[in-house]
């Protein structure tokens, strides 16, 4: 394993077996991970994207020692996740988030005290650390309220507070901003960035492409248990063959019009989608070859045409990748 890798995953496979039917007759096998290879540099934020059921949470659980792989290997901080759990657990922070996972009848401070003890945080430091993390996630004023009175976003913040309480060397964040309002989400992203300054390595899963774009210099896209892309943001953008996107909308287009657009120089992709009575064409292209005026010319028979040009977002790239995988 190379020195600067915080996570090194090789041919990782995870199969779930569940039973259904009367008297547990039928065994249903789900291949959640089908041979994942991944390498994450130490001291960075790595993004893991993918549609529902892609295997993100499964991978996070394996890396945080909550699940054993069916085959393949995974090393975190240079230690094997299946054999060296005792060494790894105190150094791993895990935020699975959601409504559950907390003791709801007691307050936030007591929740943190309990986990501080389970993680063996020195008693002399415990209260100071708890106050510190509560401040960091902006829960100080609600610290003594029962968690059952918390909103979903407040619970999410408490999950994060618990995840960083013991100052882990590596932090796994499974959809950290889910359920947060825009302001809290932005603050959470700020918090995530500030953790990097403390030298923490972070692996973050998200459904929000702008979030990955904002936080993660490097990311991987998981689809149906496979890594379909592992790249930097600029790398991903160029991979799809165009840093500009033009969207044209009208009441239906002819095939020959679409073909004409495809034939324009620099255009790498033309996708068509129905929006009620209207159709939207999305063109992916390189800067400086073809412009809006060329597209307008090709579609001049539509007086009702609306057209818009923008930078290709990671969201576009991501959707292209996932679509490709699905077809």
């Amino acid at each position: 394993m190379s020195d600067d890798a915080a996570i090194e995953v090789r041919d990782l496979v995870r199969v779930f077996e569940s039973r259904k039917g009367f008297l547990f007759r039928e065994v249903v096998r789900t291949e959640a991970l089908k041979g994942v290879n991944l390498r994450v540099r130490a001291g960075s934020i790595f993004g893991l994207l993918g549609p529902n059921g892609a295997g993100k949470t499964t991978l996070v659980k394996i890396l945080s020692t909550l699940l054993l792989p069916t085959s393949g290997t995974a090393q975190v901080l240079g230690h094997d996740v299946t054999r060296e759990t005792d060494w790894l657990r105190p150094r791993i922070g895990l935020v699975l988030g959601g409504e559950r996972g907390l003791y709801s009848r007691i307050n936030a401070r007591e929740n943190l005290r309990y986990f501080a003890d389970l993680y063996g945080i020195p008693v002399s430091e415990r209260e100071r650390r708890i106050t510190e993390v509560l401040e960091r996630v902006d829960l100080s004023s609600a610290a003594d309220r029962r968690v059952e009175e918390y909103s979903r976003g407040m619970k999410q913040k408490l999950h994060i507070a618990r995840g960083i309480l013991h100052r882990p060397a590596i932090l796994f964040l499974d959809e950290p901003t889910i359920g947060l309002d825009p302001k809290s989400a932005r603050e959470t992203r700020k918090l995530v960035r500030s953790l990097i300054q403390d030298g923490v390595t972070i692996l973050l899963t998200t459904h929000y492409m702008f979030e990955a774009e904002e936080l993660c210099p490097e990311l991987a896209v998981l689809s149906r248990g496979r890594v379909v892309a592992h790249d930097t943001i600029p790398g991903l953008r160029s991979r799809v063959g165009g840093d500009r996107t033009i969207e044209a909308e009208a009441y239906g287009f002819e095939d020959r019009e679409v073909d004409a657009l495809r034939a324009l120089p620099g255009v790498s992709k033309v996708a068509s989608e129905e929006y009620g009575p209207r159709t939207r064409l999305t063109l992916r292209m390189r800067t400086g070859v073809t412009g809006v005026e060329h597209v307008k010319a090709a579609l001049r028979e539509h007086p009702e045409l609306t057209i818009r040009e923008r930078r290709t977002s990671v969201e576009d790239v991501y959707l292209d990748l996932v679509e490709e995988e699905a077809s």
Partner: protein
Amino acid sequence: MALAAGEVSRLRTTVASLRLAVLQFMADPQWLVPSMIAPVIFGLVSFELFRGAGPYFLTYAILGAGMMSMWGQTLYGSGWATGQDRVFGTLEPTIQSPSPYLYVVLGRILWNIVIGLVGGGIVYGVVVVAAGGPPALPNPALFVVLFLFVMVTLASVGVLFAAAYVYTRYAGFIQNIGEFAFYVGTGCMFPVILLPFWTNPIALLFPPTWALDALRYVSIPGYTGFGWGWQVDLVGAVVSTAVYAGIAGGIFHRVERHVLEVGNLSEY
């Protein structure tokens, strides 16, 4: 004892878990029903049930009802709390922490023992009030010591129920059947010797059987029980409890591994 880097003191885990158990108990007054009100009812029912059953019926009544309430608290409570960890979704973060889950269970068991003893005390009070006076106990000091020890033996079985709840969310099913079988089988309600003969060797596999037999020896003059005296019972209880404690350590280690293989920690 020096701890390796990252290792958490077992005592600290146990104390933290005990503390959490107390906080949750305080936060949820519905607990008052099984821990405080049920013993009153058990005491009264038991008093009526054993009334006139020989000169030592009071002691029978106290032991029967006391065990009934303590059994529930200590044995059932210990497994149930782990089931709750599944329901709350706290089993995953707890297992992910460096603390071995066995010591989390131990902390809860300590609290359940305290609650069980309070229940036993309430039963004693109720029966004494109903009878208009305390029962004749030949050796009160030994009675108290053995009474405490019965709790420890109950706890040793409770640990295994807790392990079952870590193992699978379906443990409630095992526990409900197991609880009833053990309750009757170990002689909690009436002496084992009154049960069909074939159940006796099975009952001896459970530490509470031994401890309860010893307790009856010292509190009911003329009690024959297994017929080998309370000293033998005591040795049997200590040995079987030690075996259970040993098994519990090994079982927890395996169960914690097994659930990582199956991946059912988040099921409830």
